[in-house]
């Protein structure tokens, strides 16, 4: 199978949906001629023109809110934020408007929009351009939250997100954009709300998201040499969460590590732990350990940033601690 990058997969998903559906368009800062801060929309302006690949002013509230307004009146906008950190500026429009319109209106409106945003550390962008804020969005009823780790998943999940009739927050780790992986030429989609077992194992389950999935897979390969069999599960969609797949794995391995790049307190991992305690407590043979960033802003200096980001060695030592 051909291999393409994470960014190319996202671009293909958008372009394919735009060719099929005239109501789909993309808007955001510097996404036209510039091709997006991370080059994700590169080339799309040439194919679709400025009316469907819309450069916006630096106005996050207007980007998110006008996407919501376009969505309730018949369009399917894809709004790109330059960094997920800037979602805070558009948060009223996302949290108080887009997410709640359907419920507040008694089910009489739908808001089919996707808010794409790069997240994550690793580029020395420091505290305001490196965060993993997925827990904000997961906490809001009315939003769906997708956080893929591979080009294949990114493409299939983004196509489903575009076709979904709800506001979907689609989080793209910026260190994954150049990551290559197999993606078939032919059309496919991946349903929202279905986790993927990235590696099967018997002894311990690592539930990881986004960039950390790859670190968990590396950790698993390392531990295999020592005879430890690690199962790695990527929820892919944080909301709705595929609880069944997580619980099934825990019943098998009886040991769980939850790993993500976001800071620890009230992070998405806390929700995963709670769900497992509620649904699989009797199967657990050891306490669950969270491998996360510390409760600090993201630091700038390279060695500090490396210390901030959870690494393979952190996952390995956590596994050894509970086995």
């Amino acid at each position: 199978m051909r291999e393409i990058t994470f960014a190319e997969a996202i671009r293909e998903a958008m372009s394919e949906e735009m060719r099929k559906d005239p109501t789909v368009f993309v808007m955001g800062e510097d996404i036209g001629v510039y091709g997006g801060a991370f080059g994700v929309t590169r080339g799309m302006l040439a194919e679709f023109g400025p009316e469907r690949v819309k450069d916006t002013p630096i106005s996050e509230a207007a980007i998110v809110g006008s996407a919501a307004g376009a969505a309730v009146t018949g369009m399917r906008p894809i709004a790109e934020l330059m960094y997920v950190d800037f979602a805070t500026i558009g948060m009223d429009q996302l949290v108080n408007q887009a997410a709640k319109i359907r419920y507040m209106f008694g089910g009489k409106a739908k808001v089919p929009m996707v808010l794409r945003a790069p997240c994550g550390a690793g580029r020395g962008n420091a505290a305001q351009h490196s965060q993993s804020l997925e827990a904000f969005f997961v906490h809001v009823p009315g939003l769906k939250v997708v956080m893929p780790s591979t080009p294949y998943d990114a493409k299939g999940l983004l196509k489903s997100s575009i076709r979904d009739d709800n506001p979907v927050v689609f989080l793209e780790h910026k260190m994954l954009y150049n990551f290559k992986g197999p993606v078939p030429e032919e059309e496919y989609t991946i349903p929202l709300g279905v986790a993927d077992i990235k590696r099967e194992g018997r002894d311990v389950t690592v539930i990881a998201t986004s960039m950390i999935v790859h670190k968990a897979l590396n950790a698993a390969a390392e531990l295999e040499k020592e005879g430890i069999s690690v199962e790695v599960i990527d929820p892919r969609t944080l909301k709705p969460l595929d609880v069944d797949t997580l619980v099934r794995s825990v019943k098998k391995t009886k040991h769980v590590i939850v790993a993500h790049e976001a800071v620890k307190t009230n992070g998405f991992g806390a929700e995963v732990v709670a769900v497992l305690v509620e649904n699989a407590f009797d199967y657990l043979d050891a306490p669950i350990i969270r491998v996360t960033a510390p409760d600090t802003p993201v630091p700038y200096s390279r060695p500090l940033e490396d210390d901030f980001i959870p690494q393979e060695r952190d996952i390995i030592s956590a596994i050894k601690e509970i086995l």
Partner: protein
Amino acid sequence: MKYSESLTREDKVDMLYKMMLIRGFEEKVEELFSLNLIHGSTHLYIGQEATAVGACRALNKDDYITSTHRGHGHCIAKGGDVKYMMAELLGRKTGYCKGKGGSMHIADMDIGILGANGVVGGGIPIATGAGLSIKMRGTKQVVICFFGDGAANQGSFHESLNLASIWDLPVIYIIENNLYGMSMGVNRAVKVERLADRAKAYNIPGIVMDGNDVIEVYDTVSGAVEKVRNGGGPILIESLTYRWRGHSRSDARAYRTREEEAEWRSKCPIRRFSEKLMSEGLLTEEGFKELEKRVEDDLNNAVEFAKASPFPDPEDLLTDVYA
């Protein structure tokens, strides 16, 4: 020729009836609130009726409006049914939003009411997005975005008007300057003489109108609608009016004088218009009394309908979160 010259006697009497219906509706809401049949909060539109009625009369059924926390008047003026509004305020299943939205979230997608809004300035980006949607779908609809003087100081105002101006979106932004935010006088909240002057910042027309004169409102907004519908780009209108009641029920109005209130009551939009129609021989005393009776009957029917309607079922709590 003025647009109002083509209004028939029936049109004008109907406009008066709508203004009286809004006034009567709000008075009924006050009464039901004091009887504890309505809970939460209410923000009454009394005194501003001419703005909503004059402006919405210039629209077609499929044109859009966005409204505010003080939204009952806009809803009635755009063609909302007082039965479903009253049922919503009483929290009943038959209400516009099945009792899930209440006073601040009434919407009727079938007649272009994209929702009242609980966030000051929250509807401005949504109206802008509806304008974008109209332009992209190539229809001839227009949007009226209602908001108050307080909302003109929100960032969403600036972001949205800028976006609408660069994209020539078919949106008419109407600031209902009723002189107060919650308690803060507009003269203390802004440095400019007229809020309409802010149009200059976006190189779009800024118009001031007497918001208590329904015919002036109709003429002004009709002119704006014609321009905007024909691709002229957005227009900002400042409607000078006054909120007779406090911000909400708990407001003792310590920030303004009773003399000021009396002065504005003397500019009552309903009395001005009814006297005008009588002086022009278009309405008799009896005819006016008939209108009063019709309003009373319609509102009594609405209250009966609401009271006879069931509350939502417990399971309704969990529906309409997602499409």
